[in-house]
Protein backbone atom coordinates (compact mmCIF):
# COMPACT_ATOMS: atom_id res chain seq x y z
CA UNK A 1 0.00 0.00 0.00
CA UNK A 2 2.23 2.65 -1.27
CA UNK A 3 -0.36 5.20 -2.15
CA UNK A 4 -0.39 8.85 -1.60
CA UNK A 5 -3.58 9.93 0.05
CA UNK A 6 -5.22 12.53 -2.13
CA UNK A 7 -5.71 16.04 -0.82
CA UNK A 8 -7.57 17.29 -3.86
CA UNK A 9 -11.07 18.62 -3.49
CA UNK A 10 -10.89 19.14 0.24
CA UNK A 11 -12.18 22.44 1.60
CA UNK A 12 -9.90 24.19 4.05
CA UNK A 13 -11.14 25.44 7.36
CA UNK A 14 -9.90 28.23 9.51
CA UNK A 15 -7.89 26.82 12.41
CA UNK A 16 -9.45 29.24 14.85
CA UNK A 17 -11.35 27.48 17.62
CA UNK A 18 -12.88 28.71 20.79
CA UNK A 19 -11.73 25.54 22.51
CA UNK A 20 -8.01 25.15 22.30
CA UNK A 21 -4.95 24.56 24.37
CA UNK A 22 -2.91 27.17 26.21
CA UNK A 23 -0.26 28.78 24.02
CA UNK A 24 2.66 27.30 26.00
CA UNK A 25 1.18 23.81 25.63
CA UNK A 26 0.73 24.40 21.91
CA UNK A 27 4.40 25.25 21.58
CA UNK A 28 5.38 22.09 23.46
CA UNK A 29 3.25 19.99 21.07
CA UNK A 30 4.62 21.83 18.05
CA UNK A 31 8.14 21.29 19.40
CA UNK A 32 7.69 17.54 19.87
CA UNK A 33 6.07 17.16 16.43
CA UNK A 34 8.90 19.08 14.77
CA UNK A 35 11.51 17.08 16.65
CA UNK A 36 9.93 13.87 15.37
CA UNK A 37 9.73 15.15 11.78
CA UNK A 38 13.22 16.59 12.01
CA UNK A 39 14.67 13.30 13.17
CA UNK A 40 12.85 11.15 10.62
CA UNK A 41 12.45 13.48 7.62
CA UNK A 42 14.85 16.38 7.58
CA UNK A 43 18.00 14.78 8.96
CA UNK A 44 17.91 11.95 6.35
CA UNK A 45 17.16 14.48 3.62
CA UNK A 46 20.10 16.69 4.57
CA UNK A 47 22.42 13.73 4.95
CA UNK A 48 21.97 12.71 1.29
CA UNK A 49 23.36 16.04 0.11
CA UNK A 50 26.03 16.22 2.82
CA UNK A 51 27.38 12.78 1.89
CA UNK A 52 27.19 13.53 -1.84
CA UNK A 53 29.18 16.74 -1.47
CA UNK A 54 31.72 15.32 0.99
CA UNK A 55 34.52 15.48 -1.57
CA UNK A 56 33.44 18.69 -3.23
CA UNK A 57 31.48 19.68 -6.27
CA UNK A 58 34.03 18.25 -8.72
CA UNK A 59 33.66 14.70 -7.40
CA UNK A 60 29.91 15.21 -7.22
CA UNK A 61 29.49 16.05 -10.89
CA UNK A 62 32.06 13.44 -11.90
CA UNK A 63 29.58 10.76 -10.74
CA UNK A 64 27.13 11.66 -13.47
CA UNK A 65 29.68 11.48 -16.28
CA UNK A 66 30.24 7.78 -15.84
CA UNK A 67 28.78 5.80 -18.80
CA UNK A 68 27.01 3.39 -16.40
CA UNK A 69 25.31 6.29 -14.66
CA UNK A 70 24.20 7.76 -17.98
CA UNK A 71 22.78 4.44 -19.16
CA UNK A 72 20.97 4.00 -15.83
CA UNK A 73 19.39 7.44 -16.22
CA UNK A 74 18.34 6.58 -19.78
CA UNK A 75 16.80 3.29 -18.70
CA UNK A 76 14.85 4.91 -15.86
CA UNK A 77 13.52 7.58 -18.23
CA UNK A 78 12.54 4.88 -20.76
CA UNK A 79 10.70 2.77 -18.19
CA UNK A 80 8.80 5.79 -16.88
CA UNK A 81 8.05 7.00 -20.43
CA UNK A 82 6.28 3.69 -21.15
CA UNK A 83 4.70 2.94 -17.76
CA UNK A 84 3.25 6.38 -17.03
CA UNK A 85 1.28 6.87 -20.30
CA UNK A 86 -0.01 3.28 -20.18
CA UNK A 87 -1.31 3.68 -16.65
CA UNK A 88 -2.67 7.10 -17.48
CA UNK A 89 -4.80 5.73 -20.34
CA UNK A 90 -5.87 2.86 -18.09
CA UNK A 91 -6.75 5.24 -15.28
CA UNK A 92 -8.94 7.42 -17.49
CA UNK A 93 -10.69 4.39 -19.06
CA UNK A 94 -11.29 2.70 -15.70
CA UNK A 95 -12.56 5.91 -14.11
CA UNK A 96 -14.90 6.56 -17.05
CA UNK A 97 -16.44 3.08 -16.79
CA UNK A 98 -16.66 3.13 -13.00
CA UNK A 99 -17.80 6.71 -12.45
CA UNK A 100 -20.24 7.17 -15.33
CA UNK A 101 -22.01 3.80 -15.35
CA UNK A 102 -23.75 1.48 -12.92
CA UNK A 103 -22.79 -2.17 -13.13
CA UNK A 104 -22.55 -5.25 -10.99
CA UNK A 105 -19.15 -5.98 -9.47
CA UNK A 106 -18.09 -2.34 -9.37
CA UNK A 107 -16.80 -2.41 -5.79
CA UNK A 108 -14.88 -5.60 -6.47
CA UNK A 109 -13.31 -3.97 -9.52
CA UNK A 110 -12.21 -0.93 -7.47
CA UNK A 111 -10.62 -3.22 -4.87
CA UNK A 112 -8.82 -5.22 -7.57
CA UNK A 113 -7.40 -2.03 -9.10
CA UNK A 114 -5.87 -1.20 -5.70
CA UNK A 115 -4.26 -4.65 -5.38
CA UNK A 116 -0.76 -3.70 -6.57
CA UNK A 117 -0.45 -1.30 -3.62
CA UNK A 118 -1.00 -4.21 -1.24
CA UNK A 119 1.71 -6.35 -2.81
CA UNK A 120 5.31 -6.17 -1.58
CA UNK A 121 7.63 -4.74 -4.25
CA UNK A 122 9.68 -7.93 -4.11
CA UNK A 123 6.60 -10.01 -4.91
CA UNK A 124 5.70 -7.59 -7.72
CA UNK A 125 8.97 -8.58 -9.37
CA UNK A 126 8.67 -12.25 -8.48
CA UNK A 127 5.35 -12.70 -10.29
CA UNK A 128 6.95 -11.75 -13.61
CA UNK A 129 9.82 -14.14 -12.99
CA UNK A 130 7.19 -16.85 -12.50
CA UNK A 131 5.55 -15.81 -15.78
CA UNK A 132 8.51 -15.23 -18.08
CA UNK A 133 11.53 -16.75 -16.29
CA UNK A 134 13.22 -19.90 -17.63
CA UNK A 135 10.93 -22.09 -15.49
CA UNK A 136 7.92 -19.79 -15.85
CA UNK A 137 4.54 -20.33 -17.51
CA UNK A 138 5.52 -18.58 -20.71
CA UNK A 139 9.27 -19.15 -20.27
CA UNK A 140 9.67 -21.89 -22.90
CA UNK A 141 7.54 -20.03 -25.43
CA UNK A 142 9.45 -16.81 -24.87
CA UNK A 143 12.77 -18.61 -25.35
CA UNK A 144 11.60 -20.34 -28.53
CA UNK A 145 10.71 -17.02 -30.07
CA UNK A 146 13.97 -15.50 -28.91
CA UNK A 147 12.27 -12.75 -26.92
CA UNK A 148 14.12 -11.48 -23.86
CA UNK A 149 11.85 -10.30 -21.06
CA UNK A 150 13.53 -11.34 -17.81
CA UNK A 151 16.83 -9.65 -16.98
CA UNK A 152 16.15 -7.25 -19.84
CA UNK A 153 14.37 -3.95 -20.43
CA UNK A 154 10.84 -5.41 -21.04
CA UNK A 155 10.88 -7.05 -17.59
CA UNK A 156 11.85 -3.76 -15.95
CA UNK A 157 9.06 -1.96 -17.78
CA UNK A 158 6.51 -4.63 -16.78
CA UNK A 159 7.50 -4.46 -13.10
CA UNK A 160 7.31 -0.65 -13.24
CA UNK A 161 3.85 -0.78 -14.84
CA UNK A 162 2.70 -3.13 -12.06
CA UNK A 163 3.88 -1.03 -9.11
CA UNK A 164 2.46 2.20 -10.57
CA UNK A 165 -0.75 0.58 -11.82
CA UNK A 166 -3.35 2.20 -9.48
CA UNK A 167 -2.00 5.77 -9.19
CA UNK A 168 -4.02 7.57 -11.88
CA UNK A 169 -7.14 5.38 -11.56
CA UNK A 170 -7.51 5.83 -7.79
CA UNK A 171 -7.13 9.59 -8.19
CA UNK A 172 -9.73 9.88 -10.96
CA UNK A 173 -12.38 7.40 -9.78
CA UNK A 174 -13.57 9.36 -6.70
CA UNK A 175 -13.15 12.68 -8.52
CA UNK A 176 -15.30 11.64 -11.51
CA UNK A 177 -17.83 9.93 -9.24
CA UNK A 178 -18.27 13.19 -7.35
CA UNK A 179 -18.66 15.16 -10.58
CA UNK A 180 -21.52 13.00 -11.86
CA UNK A 181 -22.53 12.92 -15.51
CA UNK A 182 -25.08 15.69 -15.97
CA UNK A 183 -22.77 17.99 -17.92
CA UNK A 184 -21.74 15.17 -20.26
CA UNK A 185 -25.39 14.27 -20.86
CA UNK A 186 -26.18 17.90 -21.62
CA UNK A 187 -23.37 18.07 -24.19
CA UNK A 188 -24.62 14.89 -25.86
CA UNK A 189 -28.17 16.23 -26.01
CA UNK A 190 -26.84 19.34 -27.70
CA UNK A 191 -25.33 17.16 -30.41
CA UNK A 192 -21.70 16.64 -29.34
CA UNK A 193 -20.12 13.29 -30.15
CA UNK A 194 -18.75 11.02 -27.41
CA UNK A 195 -15.15 12.09 -28.07
CA UNK A 196 -16.05 15.76 -28.22
CA UNK A 197 -17.82 15.40 -24.90
CA UNK A 198 -14.76 13.79 -23.35
CA UNK A 199 -12.27 16.32 -24.67
CA UNK A 200 -14.35 19.46 -24.14
CA UNK A 201 -16.35 18.64 -21.01
CA UNK A 202 -14.78 15.81 -19.01
CA UNK A 203 -11.07 16.45 -19.53
CA UNK A 204 -11.11 20.11 -18.42
CA UNK A 205 -12.96 19.04 -15.27
CA UNK A 206 -10.50 16.31 -14.37
CA UNK A 207 -7.25 17.91 -15.56
CA UNK A 208 -5.84 18.66 -12.10
CA UNK A 209 -6.73 15.23 -10.76
CA UNK A 210 -5.18 13.62 -13.81
CA UNK A 211 -2.01 15.67 -13.50
CA UNK A 212 -1.82 14.85 -9.78
CA UNK A 213 -2.07 11.13 -10.51
CA UNK A 214 0.54 11.36 -13.26
CA UNK A 215 3.02 13.21 -11.02
CA UNK A 216 2.73 10.58 -8.29
CA UNK A 217 2.83 7.73 -10.82
CA UNK A 218 5.99 9.16 -12.36
CA UNK A 219 7.74 9.56 -9.00
CA UNK A 220 7.14 5.93 -8.13
CA UNK A 221 8.07 4.74 -11.65
CA UNK A 222 11.46 6.45 -11.46
CA UNK A 223 12.18 5.48 -7.87
CA UNK A 224 11.05 1.85 -7.74
CA UNK A 225 13.71 -0.41 -6.28
CA UNK A 226 12.49 -3.79 -5.00
CA UNK A 227 10.39 -4.95 -7.94
CA UNK A 228 12.90 -3.79 -10.52
CA UNK A 229 15.75 -5.34 -8.56
CA UNK A 230 14.17 -8.80 -8.85
CA UNK A 231 13.66 -8.70 -12.64
CA UNK A 232 16.71 -6.69 -13.67
CA UNK A 233 19.56 -9.17 -13.37
CA UNK A 234 21.82 -6.20 -12.51
CA UNK A 235 23.77 -6.06 -15.78
CA UNK A 236 25.84 -2.89 -15.58
CA UNK A 237 25.22 -0.44 -18.38
CA UNK A 238 22.27 -2.51 -19.60
CA UNK A 239 19.60 -3.33 -17.03
CA UNK A 240 20.39 -0.97 -14.19
CA UNK A 241 17.96 1.79 -13.35
CA UNK A 242 19.04 4.80 -11.26
CA UNK A 243 18.06 3.22 -7.89
CA UNK A 244 19.84 -0.02 -8.81
CA UNK A 245 22.92 1.93 -9.89
CA UNK A 246 22.92 3.63 -6.47
CA UNK A 247 22.91 0.22 -4.78
CA UNK A 248 25.82 -1.07 -6.88
CA UNK A 249 27.93 2.02 -6.16
CA UNK A 250 27.16 1.71 -2.47
CA UNK A 251 28.08 -1.97 -2.35
CA UNK A 252 31.37 -1.09 -4.04
CA UNK A 253 32.06 1.40 -1.21
CA UNK A 254 31.93 4.23 -3.72
CA UNK A 255 29.92 6.32 -1.25
CA UNK A 256 30.31 9.76 -2.79
CA UNK A 257 29.09 8.53 -6.19
CA UNK A 258 26.27 6.53 -4.59
CA UNK A 259 25.01 9.56 -2.69
CA UNK A 260 25.54 11.86 -5.68
CA UNK A 261 23.29 9.69 -7.84
CA UNK A 262 20.89 9.31 -4.89
CA UNK A 263 20.75 13.11 -4.61
CA UNK A 264 19.40 13.18 -8.16
CA UNK A 265 16.50 10.98 -7.02
CA UNK A 266 16.09 13.17 -3.93
CA UNK A 267 15.80 16.27 -6.09
CA UNK A 268 13.19 14.43 -8.14
CA UNK A 269 11.28 13.68 -4.93
CA UNK A 270 11.41 17.35 -3.86
CA UNK A 271 10.28 18.44 -7.31
CA UNK A 272 7.40 15.94 -7.06
CA UNK A 273 6.32 17.41 -3.72
CA UNK A 274 6.54 20.96 -5.09
CA UNK A 275 4.47 20.10 -8.18
CA UNK A 276 2.00 18.23 -6.01
CA UNK A 277 1.49 21.27 -3.77
CA UNK A 278 1.15 23.48 -6.85
CA UNK A 279 -1.56 21.24 -8.33
CA UNK A 280 -3.39 21.12 -4.99
CA UNK A 281 -3.30 24.90 -4.84
CA UNK A 282 -4.53 25.33 -8.43
CA UNK A 283 -7.30 22.76 -8.01
CA UNK A 284 -8.39 24.50 -4.83
CA UNK A 285 -8.40 27.88 -6.57
CA UNK A 286 -10.44 26.55 -9.52
CA UNK A 287 -12.90 25.04 -7.09
CA UNK A 288 -13.43 28.36 -5.35
CA UNK A 289 -13.79 30.33 -8.58
CA UNK A 290 -16.30 27.93 -10.04
CA UNK A 291 -19.92 29.00 -9.65
CA UNK A 292 -21.97 26.78 -7.37
CA UNK A 293 -24.04 24.20 -9.23
CA UNK A 294 -27.35 23.31 -7.75
Amino acid sequence: MAGFVSKLGRPSRSPHRSTTEARWLQWIFIGIAMLFLGLFLFVPLASVFAEALRKGLGAYFESFKEPDAISAIKLTLTAAAIAVPLNMVFGVAAAWAIAKFEFRGKNALITLIDLPFAVSPVISGLIYVLMFGAQGWLGPWVQEHDIKIMFAVPGIVLATVFVTFPFVARELIPLMQAQGKDEELAALTLGASGWQTFWRITLPKIKWGLLYGVILCNARAMGEFGAVSVVSGHIRGETNTIPLHVEILYNEYNFVAAFAVASLLTLLALLTLALKSLVEWRAHKDQQEEPVHL
Binding site: M1, G3, V5, S12, S18, T19, Q26, F29, I30, A33, M34, F36, L37, F40, L41, V43, P44, L45, S47, V48, E51, F90, A93, A94, W96, A97, F101, E102, F103, R104, G105, K106, L109, T111, D114, L115, A118, S120, V122, I123, L126, L130, G136, K181, L185, L188, G194, M222, G223, G226, S229, P243, E247, Y250, T266, A269, L273, A274, K276, S277
Partner: protein, 276 residues
Protein backbone atom coordinates in the same frame (compact mmCIF):
# COMPACT_ATOMS: atom_id res chain seq x y z
CA UNK B 1 -18.45 -10.48 -15.93
CA UNK B 2 -19.59 -6.87 -15.51
CA UNK B 3 -23.18 -6.27 -16.65
CA UNK B 4 -24.64 -2.85 -16.83
CA UNK B 5 -27.68 -2.45 -14.64
CA UNK B 6 -29.42 0.13 -16.77
CA UNK B 7 -29.01 1.75 -20.16
CA UNK B 8 -27.21 5.07 -20.14
CA UNK B 9 -27.13 7.72 -22.83
CA UNK B 10 -23.39 8.14 -22.34
CA UNK B 11 -21.21 6.22 -24.81
CA UNK B 12 -18.02 4.29 -24.17
CA UNK B 13 -19.01 1.80 -21.49
CA UNK B 14 -18.21 -1.32 -23.45
CA UNK B 15 -14.82 -0.19 -24.72
CA UNK B 16 -13.60 1.28 -21.42
CA UNK B 17 -14.74 -1.64 -19.27
CA UNK B 18 -13.27 -4.17 -21.75
CA UNK B 19 -9.94 -2.37 -21.77
CA UNK B 20 -9.96 -2.00 -17.98
CA UNK B 21 -10.65 -5.68 -17.38
CA UNK B 22 -8.17 -6.98 -19.97
CA UNK B 23 -5.39 -4.67 -18.75
CA UNK B 24 -6.12 -5.64 -15.14
CA UNK B 25 -6.01 -9.34 -16.05
CA UNK B 26 -2.78 -9.09 -18.05
CA UNK B 27 -0.79 -6.87 -15.71
CA UNK B 28 -2.13 -7.83 -12.28
CA UNK B 29 -4.40 -10.83 -11.95
CA UNK B 30 -2.77 -13.44 -14.20
CA UNK B 31 0.78 -12.72 -12.95
CA UNK B 32 -0.43 -12.76 -9.32
CA UNK B 33 -2.21 -16.07 -9.84
CA UNK B 34 1.12 -17.50 -11.02
CA UNK B 35 2.28 -17.47 -7.39
CA UNK B 36 -0.60 -19.66 -6.26
CA UNK B 37 -0.13 -21.95 -9.27
CA UNK B 38 3.58 -22.29 -8.54
CA UNK B 39 3.02 -23.35 -4.93
CA UNK B 40 0.60 -26.03 -6.11
CA UNK B 41 3.63 -27.80 -7.62
CA UNK B 42 4.89 -28.34 -4.07
CA UNK B 43 3.49 -31.00 -1.79
CA UNK B 44 1.76 -29.75 1.37
CA UNK B 45 4.63 -31.08 3.43
CA UNK B 46 7.25 -29.23 1.36
CA UNK B 47 5.21 -26.04 1.50
CA UNK B 48 4.74 -26.33 5.26
CA UNK B 49 8.40 -27.03 6.01
CA UNK B 50 9.44 -24.08 3.80
CA UNK B 51 7.19 -21.59 5.53
CA UNK B 52 7.97 -22.83 9.06
CA UNK B 53 11.74 -23.08 8.71
CA UNK B 54 13.49 -21.55 11.75
CA UNK B 55 15.18 -18.81 9.70
CA UNK B 56 11.85 -17.94 8.10
CA UNK B 57 10.06 -17.84 11.45
CA UNK B 58 12.72 -15.44 12.77
CA UNK B 59 12.05 -13.25 9.72
CA UNK B 60 8.27 -13.32 10.34
CA UNK B 61 8.85 -12.21 13.90
CA UNK B 62 11.02 -9.31 12.81
CA UNK B 63 8.81 -8.31 9.86
CA UNK B 64 5.52 -8.42 11.75
CA UNK B 65 6.95 -7.18 15.05
CA UNK B 66 8.94 -4.23 13.70
CA UNK B 67 6.10 -3.29 11.33
CA UNK B 68 3.57 -3.27 14.17
CA UNK B 69 5.74 -1.24 16.53
CA UNK B 70 6.73 1.21 13.77
CA UNK B 71 3.07 1.64 12.80
CA UNK B 72 2.24 2.27 16.46
CA UNK B 73 4.93 4.94 16.76
CA UNK B 74 3.51 6.53 13.63
CA UNK B 75 0.04 6.33 15.12
CA UNK B 76 1.05 8.32 18.20
CA UNK B 77 3.35 10.85 16.53
CA UNK B 78 1.18 10.98 13.39
CA UNK B 79 -1.76 12.08 15.51
CA UNK B 80 0.39 14.71 17.22
CA UNK B 81 1.71 16.02 13.88
CA UNK B 82 -1.82 16.13 12.43
CA UNK B 83 -3.14 17.92 15.50
CA UNK B 84 -0.42 20.54 15.30
CA UNK B 85 -0.89 21.00 11.53
CA UNK B 86 -4.67 21.33 11.69
CA UNK B 87 -5.25 23.19 14.95
CA UNK B 88 -2.26 25.45 15.52
CA UNK B 89 -0.67 28.33 13.67
CA UNK B 90 3.09 28.49 13.33
CA UNK B 91 5.57 29.73 10.73
CA UNK B 92 6.45 27.27 7.96
CA UNK B 93 3.31 25.21 8.48
CA UNK B 94 2.47 24.85 4.77
CA UNK B 95 6.03 23.73 4.02
CA UNK B 96 5.98 21.15 6.81
CA UNK B 97 2.59 19.91 5.62
CA UNK B 98 3.94 19.34 2.11
CA UNK B 99 7.12 17.67 3.42
CA UNK B 100 5.15 15.04 5.35
CA UNK B 101 4.71 13.23 2.02
CA UNK B 102 8.48 12.94 1.52
CA UNK B 103 8.56 9.21 2.37
CA UNK B 104 6.05 8.61 -0.44
CA UNK B 105 8.07 10.58 -2.96
CA UNK B 106 11.60 9.57 -1.96
CA UNK B 107 12.74 6.27 -3.54
CA UNK B 108 13.09 3.65 -0.81
CA UNK B 109 16.69 2.88 -1.73
CA UNK B 110 17.65 6.50 -1.10
CA UNK B 111 15.88 6.44 2.25
CA UNK B 112 17.77 3.29 3.20
CA UNK B 113 21.09 4.77 2.18
CA UNK B 114 20.47 8.02 4.07
CA UNK B 115 19.33 6.32 7.26
CA UNK B 116 22.31 3.97 7.17
CA UNK B 117 24.66 6.93 6.81
CA UNK B 118 23.08 8.76 9.75
CA UNK B 119 23.03 5.79 12.10
CA UNK B 120 26.36 4.17 11.22
CA UNK B 121 29.11 4.36 13.86
CA UNK B 122 30.46 7.70 12.65
CA UNK B 123 27.16 9.05 11.42
CA UNK B 124 25.40 12.20 12.62
CA UNK B 125 23.22 10.31 15.10
CA UNK B 126 25.06 6.99 15.21
CA UNK B 127 28.00 8.46 17.14
CA UNK B 128 25.63 9.47 19.94
CA UNK B 129 23.75 6.17 20.07
CA UNK B 130 27.11 4.36 20.20
CA UNK B 131 28.11 6.44 23.22
CA UNK B 132 24.81 5.56 24.84
CA UNK B 133 25.70 1.93 24.27
CA UNK B 134 23.42 0.81 21.48
CA UNK B 135 23.71 0.78 17.71
CA UNK B 136 20.90 1.24 15.22
CA UNK B 137 22.45 0.41 11.85
CA UNK B 138 22.91 -3.31 11.15
CA UNK B 139 20.64 -4.18 14.07
CA UNK B 140 16.92 -4.93 14.40
CA UNK B 141 16.57 -1.35 15.64
CA UNK B 142 17.63 -0.15 12.19
CA UNK B 143 14.78 -2.09 10.56
CA UNK B 144 12.42 -0.39 12.98
CA UNK B 145 13.77 3.09 12.17
CA UNK B 146 13.46 2.48 8.41
CA UNK B 147 9.87 1.29 8.82
CA UNK B 148 8.97 4.40 10.85
CA UNK B 149 10.27 6.53 7.99
CA UNK B 150 8.33 4.82 5.20
CA UNK B 151 5.07 4.65 7.18
CA UNK B 152 5.18 8.21 8.48
CA UNK B 153 2.66 9.89 6.14
CA UNK B 154 -0.18 7.36 6.40
CA UNK B 155 -1.71 8.28 9.77
CA UNK B 156 -1.28 12.01 9.11
CA UNK B 157 -2.98 11.83 5.72
CA UNK B 158 -5.91 9.68 6.85
CA UNK B 159 -6.61 11.62 10.07
CA UNK B 160 -6.04 15.13 8.67
CA UNK B 161 -9.27 15.43 6.61
CA UNK B 162 -11.41 14.07 9.47
CA UNK B 163 -9.89 16.46 12.01
CA UNK B 164 -10.30 19.40 9.60
CA UNK B 165 -13.98 18.61 9.05
CA UNK B 166 -14.76 18.07 12.70
CA UNK B 167 -17.44 20.39 14.00
CA UNK B 168 -16.19 22.58 16.87
CA UNK B 169 -19.67 22.60 18.47
CA UNK B 170 -19.20 19.22 20.15
CA UNK B 171 -15.99 20.30 21.84
CA UNK B 172 -17.53 23.61 22.81
CA UNK B 173 -20.55 21.85 24.29
CA UNK B 174 -18.30 19.50 26.26
CA UNK B 175 -16.27 22.45 27.54
CA UNK B 176 -19.33 24.44 28.53
CA UNK B 177 -20.67 21.43 30.43
CA UNK B 178 -17.51 21.50 32.49
CA UNK B 179 -15.34 18.87 30.85
CA UNK B 180 -11.62 19.50 31.03
CA UNK B 181 -9.63 19.78 27.82
CA UNK B 182 -8.16 16.32 28.46
CA UNK B 183 -11.60 14.79 29.07
CA UNK B 184 -12.94 16.41 25.90
CA UNK B 185 -10.04 15.00 23.92
CA UNK B 186 -10.42 11.45 25.19
CA UNK B 187 -14.23 11.35 25.27
CA UNK B 188 -15.15 13.44 22.20
CA UNK B 189 -12.23 13.91 19.80
CA UNK B 190 -10.49 10.56 20.01
CA UNK B 191 -13.60 8.40 19.40
CA UNK B 192 -14.39 10.57 16.38
CA UNK B 193 -10.90 10.03 14.95
CA UNK B 194 -10.72 6.35 15.86
CA UNK B 195 -11.68 4.79 12.47
CA UNK B 196 -9.25 7.07 10.63
CA UNK B 197 -6.48 6.33 13.13
CA UNK B 198 -7.04 2.61 12.72
CA UNK B 199 -7.04 2.93 8.92
CA UNK B 200 -3.81 4.91 8.99
CA UNK B 201 -2.24 2.37 11.33
CA UNK B 202 -3.24 -0.53 9.06
CA UNK B 203 -1.97 1.22 5.94
CA UNK B 204 1.37 1.95 7.61
CA UNK B 205 1.57 -1.63 8.91
CA UNK B 206 0.77 -3.16 5.51
CA UNK B 207 3.28 -0.92 3.79
CA UNK B 208 5.98 -1.77 6.34
CA UNK B 209 5.34 -5.49 5.99
CA UNK B 210 6.21 -5.49 2.29
CA UNK B 211 9.00 -2.92 2.46
CA UNK B 212 12.34 -3.93 1.04
CA UNK B 213 14.42 -1.07 -0.37
CA UNK B 214 14.94 1.00 2.74
CA UNK B 215 15.44 -1.97 5.05
CA UNK B 216 18.12 -3.92 3.15
CA UNK B 217 20.67 -1.17 3.50
CA UNK B 218 20.30 -0.48 7.21
CA UNK B 219 19.57 -4.01 8.46
CA UNK B 220 22.87 -5.65 7.56
CA UNK B 221 20.89 -8.79 6.63
CA UNK B 222 22.16 -11.14 9.32
CA UNK B 223 20.42 -14.53 9.24
CA UNK B 224 18.12 -15.17 12.25
CA UNK B 225 18.69 -11.62 13.40
CA UNK B 226 17.96 -8.84 10.95
CA UNK B 227 16.45 -10.61 7.94
CA UNK B 228 12.95 -9.54 6.87
CA UNK B 229 10.63 -11.78 4.84
CA UNK B 230 10.96 -9.90 1.50
CA UNK B 231 14.74 -10.29 1.79
CA UNK B 232 14.38 -14.05 2.28
CA UNK B 233 12.27 -14.19 -0.89
CA UNK B 234 15.11 -12.52 -2.80
CA UNK B 235 17.69 -14.82 -1.19
CA UNK B 236 15.74 -17.88 -2.29
CA UNK B 237 15.37 -16.47 -5.81
CA UNK B 238 19.12 -15.94 -6.02
CA UNK B 239 19.58 -19.61 -5.12
CA UNK B 240 17.11 -20.51 -7.93
CA UNK B 241 14.71 -21.88 -5.30
CA UNK B 242 11.65 -20.51 -7.10
CA UNK B 243 9.16 -22.75 -5.31
CA UNK B 244 10.54 -21.73 -1.91
CA UNK B 245 10.47 -18.04 -2.79
CA UNK B 246 6.91 -18.38 -4.02
CA UNK B 247 5.78 -20.20 -0.87
CA UNK B 248 6.95 -17.25 1.25
CA UNK B 249 5.36 -14.84 -1.22
CA UNK B 250 2.01 -16.63 -0.82
CA UNK B 251 2.18 -16.25 2.97
CA UNK B 252 2.91 -12.54 2.60
CA UNK B 253 0.21 -12.07 -0.06
CA UNK B 254 -2.41 -13.70 2.15
CA UNK B 255 -1.35 -11.43 5.03
CA UNK B 256 -1.50 -8.27 2.95
CA UNK B 257 -4.79 -9.16 1.23
CA UNK B 258 -6.34 -9.77 4.64
CA UNK B 259 -5.17 -6.33 5.77
CA UNK B 260 -6.47 -4.78 2.54
CA UNK B 261 -9.93 -6.26 3.15
CA UNK B 262 -9.84 -5.03 6.75
CA UNK B 263 -8.92 -1.54 5.58
CA UNK B 264 -11.78 -1.56 3.05
CA UNK B 265 -14.21 -2.61 5.76
CA UNK B 266 -12.80 0.08 8.06
CA UNK B 267 -13.23 2.78 5.46
CA UNK B 268 -16.84 1.76 4.82
CA UNK B 269 -17.42 1.84 8.58
CA UNK B 270 -15.91 5.30 8.97
CA UNK B 271 -17.85 6.60 5.96
CA UNK B 272 -21.14 5.33 7.33
CA UNK B 273 -20.29 6.95 10.67
CA UNK B 274 -19.63 10.34 9.12
CA UNK B 275 -22.72 10.32 6.91
CA UNK B 276 -25.04 9.40 9.76
Amino acid sequence: MFFRKQKSALPGFRITITFTVIYLLLIVLIPLSATFAKTSTMTWGQFWSTITDARVVAAYKLSFGASAVAAFVNLVFGLLVTWVLVRYKFPGKKFIDAMVDLPFALPTAVAGLALTAIYSKNGWLGQFTEKLGFSVAFNPLGVFVALIFIGLPFVVRTVQPILEDMEPELEEAAASLGASRLQTFFRIVLPELFPALLTGFSLAFARALGEYGSVVFISGNKPMETEIVPLLIITKLEQYDYAGATALAVVMLIASFTILLLINALQRWSQSRTTN
